[in-house]
């Protein structure tokens, strides 16, 4: 199991929890497990093609998964993931 920290704007969808537990052998599976547990999060995290939206950043410990193996980054028992949205606009 992996702990996943949830940013403030998405906590409404996790019953107010700032941290949830997810399962999955890699980051992609953990994120799918997250939206299985909290289905109303899906439209905010995934686009119509089933891809994570561009504002979703995931950190494993201190490292952005983009600098690791992306969504295929393997997870081990006790790992800690953090979801941080890119805040952007124009």
């Amino acid at each position: 199991m992996t702990t996943l920290k949830i940013p403030t704007p998405l906590r409404y969808y996790t019953e107010g929890q700032a941290e949830v537990t997810v399962s999955g052998s890699d980051v992609a599976a953990a994120m799918r497990n997250l939206v299985e547990q909290y289905p109303t999060l899906e439209q905010h995290l995934y686009n119509g093609n089933g891809e994570l939206r561009a504002f979703v950043n995931l950190f494993l410990g201190e490292n952005n998964i983009k600098d690791l193996q992306g969504l295929e980054t393997p997870l081990s028992e006790g790992d800690s993931l953090r979801l941080i949205p890119s805040i952007a606009g124009g």
């Binding site: 940013p7 704007p9 998405l10 969808y13 890119s86 805040i87 952007a88």
Partner: protein
């Protein structure tokens, strides 16, 4: 739910938009919700977009997001939204704003025309993400 903000804090948002002009300026709204949403403080951020894009785009790095979230928690507040300026453009959200918007957050947009902040409006993303809906701003300290 309307957004309650003091004249003083709105003035800080105006000032930040004017300082950033002709580029976009941005930051976070810290506050709390009861029957209404209250802005208690702002957290100013750097515009992390590349030089040539800052006139019509803003970006807050994940590191600054985290700093703002921690600052809010230390103050017993929450991140309740984002403010940014639209230099020489109306204070309505762009399509780009909508694509990148977070649910739950209030988005205050301030028009800065020829270097002078003129008006702010606040917007919230609809649950199905299709549109932004305007939220009333109530300015404390102004009668009526």
């Amino acid at each position: 739910m309307s957004l309650v903000i003091s004249e003083e804090i709105l003035g800080q948002i105006y000032a930040h938009g004017e300082e950033a002009y002709p580029e976009e300026g941005a930051g976070f709204l810290l506050g709390y919700d009861d029957e209404q949403r209250h802005v208690a403080q702002i957290f100013v951020t750097e515009n992390a977009r590349e030089d040539e894009a800052r006139h019509n785009r803003y970006l807050v790095t994940p590191q600054e997001y985290l700093q703002a979230e921690i600052a809010a928690e230390l103050l017993g507040l929450s991140l309740i939204g984002v403010f940014h300026s639209h230099p020489d453009h109306p204070n309505r959200p762009s399509e780009f704003d909508r694509e990148w918007a977070q649910p739950f957050f209030s988005y205050i947009i301030t028009s800065v025309n020829a270097g002078k902040a003129v008006e702010s409006r606040s917007w919230r993303l609809a649950e199905n993400r299709s549109i932004f809906e305007e939220e009333q701003i109530e300015i404390e300290g102004i009668e009526g």
